[in-house]
C-alpha cells in the first residue's frame, strides 16, 4: 500500500475532508499537526515550498490542498 502522509492543522476543513476521503477509500495515512509539531512544519515547507495546509505526500508525490483529481491519480483511485 502507498505510503501516505498528511500535514494539517486541527482547524482546517479541507484537511478534515482529505482525511475522511482516505478513510472512505481505506487508505492508511500518517497525520502531522503542523500547528503543534515544528519539525513537521519545516518538513512540510521543504517538501511543498509553501506554507498552506493541507499538504499530502503520496510516495513522494506532493499535493497542496484537497485536490481530489491529483490524489486519485497518485493512489490509482478510479
Amino acid at each position: 500500500m502507498a505510503k501516505v502522509t498528511i500535514y494539517s492543522t486541527p482547524t482546517c476543513p479541507y484537511c478534515e475532508m482529505a482525511k475522511e476521503y482516505f478513510k472512505k477509500n481505506n487508505v492508511e495515512f500518517q497525520n502531522f499537526d503542523v500547528s503543534a509539531d515544528e519539525k513537521a512544519a519545516r518538513e512540510m515547507i521543504e517538501k511543498s515550498h509553501q506554507m498552506g495546509v493541507p499538504v499530502i505526500d503520496i510516495e513522494g508525490t506532493i499535493i497542496v490542498g484537497f485536490d481530489r483529481p491529483s490524489i486519485d491519480k497518485a493512489l490509482g483511485i478510479k
Binding site: T11, C12, A41, H49, Q50
Partner: protein
C-alpha cells in the same frame, strides 16, 4: 445526453439536485466537493432550520440529503469543470480529466470565490505567506508578525483566528470605514498586539522565497510605509466564479450572470444560473437555494413541453 447538468455542490447545486431527483429529471450533478468557501466557518447561524452548524457539518448534511433521495440523480464529485461549450441540441461540459458530459440544459451554481490580492507579489507569494483561509493557516503563524487586509467581518474574523498565534496583527483597511461588527472590533481593540490601520492602500508584498513584508501607502498623505510581516491574510471580498462561461452568456459589470428572475434562465437558452453566480442583489444560503429551486422547476416545465 442528460436533460440537465447541475454544476456546483453548494446550497444552490444541492437544492437543484434534490428537486431534480424528486421530479425524476434525467440529471447529473458535478462538483469539486460539497460545500463552498464557507466550509471553513466554524459556526453558521443564518442557515434557516439550524440554530448553529459548522460549515463542514452543513456540507455533509447537504450531501447526505441529496444522496439519500429515493431516486437520486447521478452525482460525480471530485470533478473540476474546465470548459462548457455549445453543441447541437445542447451543451458539452468537459472536466480536467478530459471526460465530457452532454446535456440539454446546464444549471450553473458554482458560487463565488475569494477576490485575490492584485498587487506585485500577490500571486507569487500565494501559499508562501499570502493566505485566503485563516481558519486553515493561522496556526502556522505562531510568534510571527502578520497583516490582515480588509476590515469587514471576514477580515476581523481572520484577525480573531490569528489572536492565539501571531505576535503582532496589523489590520489594513483601504479607507476609514471599519465595516466589521462592533462585537469583533471590541474584542480586537482590547488586545494590545492588534493594530488597525485605516486609509492603508496595499501596494506590494515583499519577500524572496517567502513573504517578509508588505508595502502600503497612506491614502491621506501618500506616504509609503513598510510592515515587516511573515503572513498576509487577504479578506477583500468575493467574486462570482463566472470565468468559465465568459462569452457564452451575458454578464453584468460585476461579472454576474444576467438571469430572468422569474425563470433564472440566462441570455443563452438552456443555460440557467442560481446563487452567487446570478445577478441577484443578495448572496445568502437561502436565496441561492430559492434561485436553484425556481430554476429546476422551470427547467422541468420546459422539458415537459418538448
Amino acid at each position: 445526453m442528460y436533460d440537465l447538468i447541475i454544476i456546483g455542490g453548494g446550497p444552490a447545486g444541492v437544492a437543484a439536485g434534490i428537486y431534480a431527483s424528486r421530479k425524476k429529471i434525467n440529471a447529473l450533478l458535478v462538483t469539486k466537493f460539497f460545500g463552498g468557501e464557507w466550509i471553513s466557518s466554524d459556526k453558521i447561524e443564518n442557515f434557516i432550520g439550524f440554530k448553529a452548524i459548522s460549515g463542514l457539518d452543513l456540507a455533509k448534511t447537504l450531501e447526505e440529503q441529496l444522496r439519500s433521495q429515493p431516486e437520486p440523480i447521478a452525482v460525480k464529485d471530485g470533478i473540476t469543470v474546465s470548459s462548457i461549450k455549445k453543441i447541437e441540441g445542447g451543451f458539452e461540459v468537459a472536466d480536467s480529466g478530459e471526460n465530457t458530459y452532454q446535456a440539454k440544459n446546464i444549471l450553473l451554481a458554482l458560487g463565488s470565490g475569494y477576490k485575490k490580492l492584485d498587487v506585485p507579489g500577490g500571486k507569487e507569494f500565494e501559499g508562501k505567506g499570502i493566505f485566503y483561509c485563516s481558519t486553515c493557516d493561522a496556526p502556522l503563524m505562531k510568534g510571527k508578525n502578520v497583516a490582515v487586509i480588509g476590515a469587514g467581518n471576514s477580515g476581523l474574523e481572520a484577525a480573531i483566528d490569528l489572536l492565539p498565534y501571531a505576535s503582532e496583527i496589523n489590520i489594513l483597511q483601504y479607507n476609514d470605514v471599519i465595516k466589521g461588527d462592533a462585537i469583533y472590533q471590541e474584542k480586537l481593540k482590547a488586545d494590545p498586539k492588534v493594530k488597525i490601520i485605516t486609509n492603508a492602500v496595499t501596494k506590494e508584498v515583499l519577500g524572496s522565497d517567502f513573504v517578509s513584508g508588505l508595502k502600503y501607502t497612506d491614502a491621506n498623505t501618500n506616504e509609503e510605509k513598510t510592515l515587516e510581516v511573515s503572513g498576509v491574510f487577504v479578506e477583500i471580498g468575493y467574486k462570482p466564479n463566472t470565468d468559465l462561461i465568459k462569452g457564452l452568456v451575458k454578464l453584468d459589470e460585476r461579472g454576474h450572470i444576467i438571469v430572468d428572475h422569474k425563470t433564472f434562465q440566462s441570455s443563452e437558452k438552456g443555460i440557467w444560473a442560481a446563487g452567487d453566480m446570478a445577478d441577484g442583489l443578495y448572496n445568502q444560503f437561502t436565496t441561492a437555494m430559492g434561485d436553484a429551486v425556481n430554476a429546476v422547476l422551470n427547467i422541468y416545465e420546459t422539458l415537459k413541453v418538448k
